[in-house]
């Protein structure tokens, strides 16, 4: 794979990860504020189904099935031809549809910057703050061991 193609795929995956992690409400709010177009032809879904979550024996050994999770997916096509996909945990169909449109818009070179700055960047910032806060709250419960010298000498 050429370098540019690999970078594009990594960026697109990061965009999809941000959309999957964000709430449908946050996506819809930013979508409306940015005035992004929500017209697209639905090729599939939105539909809810299951994925089977896999873990590894001992943490890093052979895979095994832990249980299932709900996932909602959608596929859309823009009038300009780009096809966008979304797979996201949960049952929020509106979110899946918007996220699929966002994925399609992101692939349109004339739209990418708008999607990045008005939708993805604010979502990423909110996720980063929530993540950092969670980490800091956990860090406050870290045990600081100390030793005490008892008796003389």
């Amino acid at each position: 794979m050429r370098g540019q193609e690999a970078r594009d795929q990594a960026e697109r995956k990061a965009v999809m990860a941000t959309l999957a992690q964000s709430t449908g409400d946050d996506i819809a709010r930013l979508w409306n504020e940015a005035g992004l177009p929500s017209e697209a032809e639905l090729l599939r879904g939105p539909e809810t189904g299951l994925v089977t979550v896999r873990g590894r024996i001992g943490g890093g050994g052979a895979p095994f099935n832990v249980g299932e999770a709900t996932v909602t997916r959608a596929t859309v096509r823009l009038a300009s031809g780009q096809v966008g996909h979304c797979y996201a945990m949960g049952r929020d169909k509106q979110k899946a549809k918007l996220a699929a449109i966002a994925d399609a818009l992101w692939q349109d070179p004339t739209r990418r910057n708008e999607v990045e700055t008005k939708l993805i960047a604010p979502l990423q910032a909110a996720l980063a703050i929530a993540r950092e806060r969670r980490r800091a709250e956990t860090a406050a419960t870290k045990v600081d061991f100390f030793t005490m010298v008892r008796g003389e000498d």
Binding site: A20, P63, N65, A69, Y87, T141
Partner: protein, 370 residues
């Protein structure tokens, strides 16, 4: 001849209406919202997700309300719901080493990379009921501490460097992970299938079995190498994309139980392991699962199978509380015909028994008279 007896439709409909009324309870008390259950009864929601084997907080909360707080009924509802959905595939295996850790403790190492993080734990509380909670007062925001993002290697990796612990469980290269939701149980089973069954198993049942191993029934000297709770990301390979698509995160609890092992003809003395991994925050369940996993590996290590916790068929066949409740509770459904047949049989046996006794008595009297 078989004559079907019908009836009860009106009684059933009225009973369900009564159930709906009692579920709602006093109408002057506000109805519960699902977000209240998700936020404030989070560990109950986690249990329903774990044993219902379906990760979806709102659905688990709905099941809890619908079941009036009866957890096994709620788990049953979730299991029934999941059969109505299409399946999109199997995720890539989660990486618990890359977890956004919310709690992580080790009973084997005091100072380990990443440290001991207590997180939101009941440990070290005094277990005194708190009247302030009943009054519904405000709760302070938790403290925060700035810290560098540290990597938190699994404790098993630390012991592995010295070669004193068995590696993570491997399977043959071409082994496809079994799936008990697709294939019927067969014994003996591979460890991956056993772990799937244990992960959705009843917490109380696994807890009791784990406890039994500590009390001497299949004693195996456990230490909690590590318990960690936090979120891990899910990814799914799909044909329409050239990369694994990120789905979001799930919260899981992982337990690495470390057990003493004196060695055998095949293996040198080393620590062996039991593994627990469950949906949500549930370290009791993850620890019980790890104890059972290790006990069930008895034959692998040439240990004598002497206790219930080591008996694979016993443990796995009875660990599923939906199956268990189905079979136990079916006993209350009408068995009129079965019972009539048994009643008939017992009457006949009793008549034969009485006839034999009378004959014996006559015989004795006759002998006495002679």
């Amino acid at each position: 001849m078989y004559v079907a007896v019908k009836g009860g439709e009106a009684a059933i409909a009225n009973a369900h209406a009564l159930l709906a009324d009692r579920r709602r309870g006093d109408r002057s008390v506000p109805a519960l919202r699902l977000d209240q259950i998700v936020e404030q009864l989070a560990l109950g929601v986690d249990r329903v997700m774990s044993e219902g084997s379906l990760y979806d907080r709102e659905l688990a909360a709905l099941a809890i309300v619908q079941a009036r707080g009866d957890m096994i009924e709620a788990i049953f509802l979730v299991r029934a719901y999941r059969t109505t959905l299409p399946r999109f595939g199997y995720t890539r295996a989660i990486d618990t080493g890359a977890m956004l850790v919310e709690r992580r403790v080790s009973a084997t190492y005091k100072d380990l990379p990443g440290g001991q993080l207590l997180g939101p734990t009941f440990d070290y509380t005094h277990r005194l009921l708190d009247p302030e909670l009943a009054a519904g007062g405000d709760v302070a925001e938790p403290l925060q501490r700035a810290s560098e993002a540290e990597t938190m290697p699994r404790v098993s990796a630390i012991l592995a460097r010295e070669g004193l612990i068995e590696p993570d469980g491997d399977m043959p290269q071409d082994h496809v992970p079994g799936d008990i939701t697709r294939e019927p149980l067969e014994f003996p089973m591979a460890r991956d299938i056993r772990l799937q069954a244990l992960s959705r198993g009843d917490e109380g049942f696994l807890l009791a079995l784990g406890y039994s191993t500590q009390r001497g029934y299949a004693r195996n000297h456990p230490f909690v190498g590590e318990v960690r709770i936090g979120e891990v990301e899910l990814e799914l390979d799909v044909p329409e994309l050239p990369f694994a698509v990120p789905l979001g995160s799930v919260r899981v609890t992982e337990c690495q139980m470390v057990n003493q092992f004196k060695g055998s003809a095949k293996a040198p003395p080393q620590f062996t392991r039991g593994y627990g991994l469950v949906f949500g925050q549930s370290e009791r369940k993850a620890m019980a699962m790890a104890l059972c996993d290790r006990a069930l590996r008895a034959t692998e290590f040439g240990e004598d199978v002497v206790a219930a916790a080591q008996d694979e068929e016993f443990v796995i066949s009875h660990s599923d509380n939906v199956q268990a409740t189905g079979f136990v509770e079916h006993l209350k459904l009408p068995h009129y015909v079965d019972f009539q047949a048994e009643l008939d049989l017992v009457r006949r046996m009793r008549a034969e028994h009485d006839a034999r006794e009378n004959a014996d008595m006559l015989e004795e009297k006759k002998e006495a008279a002679e």
